[in-house]
């Protein structure tokens, strides 16, 4: 049961993950696995109504139950004097920002809205007591559909937001775009619904809060992708505790996919309850609660059009979207259908005119926020569906029409019409590789032959781009972010030459302990096994912004590379002093400093480290010890791209879609660990295939969540999916020290369009030009018949 041998694990190698031994033996501790002395349990009573006035709450029976310590409502939180707020962290011009309190005060606005809290000695009692709280509700009408919610007379979620419009946002040049359409030879046009999704990280959210009333310190273990953001928001908006008195710790975290970025009420409630009862308080969501409280994803109603000239060249794109915000504005929700969506409308294409208009809409539903891909899957879906529709209406092959419109490899940096400047790319390279691997030309023959036999095969391309590696802080700040997006790292070389790395990222399955050590092993020439990586504790590492938006390698990894470079620079100065040589005469190779041509007289990094700590003989002006901190603010987003291809067979008699092959050629720049990158692609594809074929959150007309359990919501099972074929092209990012991009979201961004394009291709003999996701047998059969 030993670790990897020395020498393995450098940048670019598929080393096995060092995280795994604890995980495969059940020794790793997630939040709900922790127990503290005197710990009690907290549960939250949630509204059964999408929209209701609260006339009164009678908790007397619950309070009398043996084992119940207290029952609290919003009034108790208000009386305690804490701010009690759950804030939004991204502001758009003229956006309506309704109050969002830790518990509903007098109105519930979605099924799941918190109404009361129980604190009890054990978790069974804490759940029993919920049934003994009687809430006098006055139910009102609710609305769940984001387009219908804007119609006159629709029930209002917040009185201060007429027609339920939270914001009215646009990007691009409307006049120029309309003019392009006026001159178009062909126009492709689609109305689509981008279906609402429920994230379903396998670990439900949880918090264990321990408030020390003597010191005023709060320690909060929680399921988080970004401990420092949670510390900040809990301090500023929810509890009013000084930031330095709050320590947020992410123990092992069981997946997130965005759902553990956001600041929800529940973790703040556990902390507030600990302040009230003077004991550690644990809250753990049931799966049903995660369905009712974890921020959902997508939920767009969109009309899109693509204009072409007579040669099939794209001359204009216009998109109108109604994007659900849900009942309140979640942490980064306003950014998702705007700056992470409208800015991606150019796709991989040289598009001279683009206009995108978005209404952010309140609905009586669970708040919507970033879910794996966050805006970019929605953008890719409408663009890539329109491109296939453009191929259909113009009679040009889908691969050819893409090739004809790609931004050419020599056009970089390429300024789009929607703010982004693409730094690098070779879109045709990825397309060619994918077409060859799938056997595109042969497939068309096979497809034609199969149709003769009544079998309906289809092939779907998705040539995607995404912007990730969030992000240049000044840029996101100018767009409304109430957060920076740089990243921090500390590289600490100990006296014995062993290394501890601290990152402000916070992994939850990505394998950072492995890949970040690989970066440092290569940078310092230190054996991989001599490097430890620590993340996820606001009390230990400098401020960081966490892990989401495929940012950890590009920003966190770059911060680590920068810090390692500073360490080498300092070590070089000390080594030169020890070798009595000029710094510029020194070589640094495999962890050794030596004068050019004299490798036998070397000072190794551990030698230098020891001298740095002893500090008996340091050059003038050099401080003792050997460590460096870096705060890395990226110069630009990073732009992964690629071609994904799905091959399906549609059963003519049942409408069932069989995903026969799925091939991904991704370009994520330089690759730190190919095995881990492939794993990220696999998981991303599975979630995108899930959206396209299986998953959807269903609300009824009264805004009740019908798909409220894993029985009703189809998280893909193993036999729903094929094995995946993956390959890569490598176009290094030109503006970060590692040449890396991001890979966490690529699969989820690319795959829905590939799958739906394949289904529509299969159904082309039936005159079908679109089917909304999820593409169920029922929808397909109806389309065929």
């Amino acid at each position: 049961m030993a670790g990897e041998s020395n020498g393995a694990g450098v940048f670019g190698s598929s080393i096995r993950r060092r995280e795994d031994p604890e995980l495969i033996t059940g020794q790793a501790k997630y939040t709900d696995d922790l127990q503290l002395s005197g710990m009690v349990y907290c549960t939250v009573l949630r509204s059964d109504y999408a929209h209701a006035k609260i006339n009164g709450i009678d908790a007397s029976e619950a309070e009398a139950l043996d084992g119940v310590i207290a029952v609290y409502t919003a009034k108790d939180i208000e009386a305690s004097g804490v701010p009690g707020g759950i804030p939004v962290g991204w502001l758009l011009p003229d956006m309506k920002i309704p109050e969002h309190y830790m518990l509903a005060k007098d109105t519930t606005r979605y099924v799941g809205d918190g109404v009361a809290i129980v604190v009890a000695e054990d978790q069974y009692t804490a759940h029993d007591a919920l049934d003994l709280i009687y809430v006098d509700y006055d139910p009102r009408d609710g609305v769940a559909d984001p387009k219908k919610a804007t119609e006159d007379g629709a029930p209002l979620v917040h009185d201060e937001a007429p027609n339920n419009i939270a914001f009215d946002w646009e990007i691009g040049d409307k006049g120029q775009t309309d003019a392009a359409f006026a001159n178009a030879a062909h126009v492709a046009s689609l109305d689509i619904v981008n279906n609402r999704l429920i994230p379903n990280a396998m670990e439900p959210r949880a918090a264990l809060a321990d408030y020390n009333s003597i010191t005023g310190e709060l320690t909060l273990y929680m399921t988080t992708q970004n401990p420092h953001i949670h510390r900040l928001l809990i301090s500023l908006a929810s509890l009013g505790l000084p930031e330095h008195k709050i320590r947020v710790i992410a123990p092992e975290v069981g997946g997130g996919f965005g759902s553990k970025i956001h600041h929800y009420a529940d973790e703040a409630i556990a902390a507030w309850a600990s302040m009230q009862v003077g004991r550690p308080v644990k809250w753990t969501a049931t799966r049903t609660e995660t369905y009712l409280t974890d921020a959902h994803g997508r939920d767009h109603v969109t009309h899109g059009e693509l204009a072409m000239d007579a040669d099939g060249r794209f001359i204009g794109l216009r998109v109108d979207t109604y994007a659900a915000m849900g009942a309140y504005l979640s942490t980064f929700a306003p950014a998702v259908p705007t700056y992470l969506y409208g800015t991606l409308m150019s796709g991989e294409y040289d598009l001279p005119a683009i206009h995108c208009h978005v209404y952010g809409v309140f609905t009586h539903t669970v708040p919507v926020d970033a879910y794996r891909g966050a805006g970019r899957p929605e953008a890719t879906f409408i663009v890539e569906r329109l491109v296939d529709e453009a191929a259909r209406v113009s009679g040009i092959d889908p691969a050819e029409i893409r090739r004809r419109n790609f931004v050419s490899p020599d056009a970089f940096p390429y300024q789009t019409q929607v703010a982004l400047e693409y730094d690098s790319g070779n879109y045709e390279g990825a397309l060619d590789k994918a077409l060859e691997a799938i056997g595109y030309d042969d497939f068309r023959k096979e497809q034609a032959a199969a149709r003769e036999e009544g079998k309906y095969l289809g092939i779907g391309l998705s040539t995607y781009i995404e912007a990730c590696g969030l992000a240049p802080s000044a840029v996101v700040g100018s767009l409304g972010a109430q957060a920076g997006q740089w990243e921090s790292a500390v590289v600490r070389v100990h006296a014995t030459g062993k290394v501890t790395v601290y990152s402000g990222c916070s992994g939850h399955g990505q394998g950072h302990e492995t890949t970040f050590a690989q970066i440092v092993a290569s940078a310092l020439g230190v054996p991989y096994d001599d490097i430890d990586v620590i993340e996820g504790d606001s009390g230990v590492m400098p401020h960081g912004w966490g892990t989401y938006g495929s940012r950890s390698a590009a920003t966190g990894g770059s911060a680590i590379a920068s810090a390692a470079e500073k360490v080498v620079d300092k070590a070089r100065t000390i080594a030169a002093h020890l070798l009595e040589a000029a710094e510029e005469d020194l070589e640094f190779e495999d962890g050794n400093f030596f004068v050019k041509g004299s490798p036998d007289q070397a000072q190794s990094l551990p030698d230098v480290a020891l001298q740095a700590y002893l500090a008996h003989n340091l050059p003038k002006g050099i401080e003792p010890a050997l460590e460096a901190t870096s705060f890395y603010d990226p110069a630009n987003f990073v732009f992964p791209f690629g071609t994904h291809i799905a091959v399906v067979e549609v059963c003519a008699s049942t409408g069932q879609v069989d995903l026969k092959r799925y091939l991904a050629v991704d370009d994520v720049g330089n690759v730190i660990n190919p095995m881990i990158v492939d794993g990220q692609v696999h998981g991303g594809i599975a979630q995108g295939v899930g959206q396209s074929l299986y998953e959807t959150a269903v609300y009824d007309d009264g805004a009740n969540l019908l798909s409220g359990t894993m029985l009703d919501y189809a998280v893909p099972k193993a036999h729903f999916l094929p094995s995946f074929e993956t390959d890569r092209t490598v176009t290094p990012c030109p503006h970060n020290p590692l040449g890396v991009k991001g890979v966490g979201e690529a699969g989820t961004i690319a795959s829905p369009a590939a799958v739906v394009n394949a289904v529509v291709d299969a159904l082309s003999p039936f005159g079908v030009n679109h089917i909304d996701m999820p593409v169920t047998s029922e929808k397909v059969w109806n389309a065929m018949n």
């Binding site: 501790k29 696995d33 069974y124 379903n200 439900p204 036999h719």
Partner: protein, 155 residues
């Protein structure tokens, strides 16, 4: 109130007085400190809580502790015997896990799968795992891990 039960957990004898409604998953996690067994849902869908009960894979969130009276329980903590079980080793070697939350239940189910079908096809592996959900891996490398473990165990 309590009911006395005796069972063997990972080879050790356990005697407890438990509430009749106590779930086996909670007995393992809360009272015996065996938190490797995870609870990921409340409708017996996800399989994170899968353990071996008298050698058979069961979802311990759907078994009352009292029903395990007189039984032998193996959890993920009891699977390794000085060295990793071939299935654990195969999950590590093949990157069959990412966040690790589904992994204990998944590994137990995979062990059970090979116990009943030592040389499964890919299709049989995928259908054999329908009681266990993974949100990270897309199952691709889990399938590879089961194939690798089958090879080791049959070799």
């Amino acid at each position: 109130m309590g009911i006395s039960i005796e069972l063997e957990v990972n080879g050790a004898s356990v005697s407890k007085e438990v509430e009749p409604r106590l779930l086996l998953a909670h007995l393992l996690r809360e009272e015996l400190g065996l938190t490797g067994t995870k609870i990921g849902c409340d409708t017996s869908q996800c399989g994170s809580c899968t353990i071996l009960l008298d050698g058979q894979a069961v979802k311990s969130c759907t078994v009352l502790a009292v029903q395990a009276d007189g039984s032998e329980v193996t959890t993920i903590e009891g699977l390794a015997n000085g060295e990793y079980h071939p299935m654990q080793q195969a999950f590590w070697d093949n990157h069959g896990l990412q966040c690790g939350f589904c992994t204990p239940g998944m590994i137990i189910s995979c062990v059970d799968l090979l116990n009943s079908n030592p040389q499964p096809s890919e299709d049989e592996i995928r259908h054999g795992l329908e009681g266990n959900l993974c949100r990270c891996t897309g199952y691709h490398n889990i399938v590879r891990a089961v194939q690798a473990a089958a090879e080791t165990m049959n070799g």
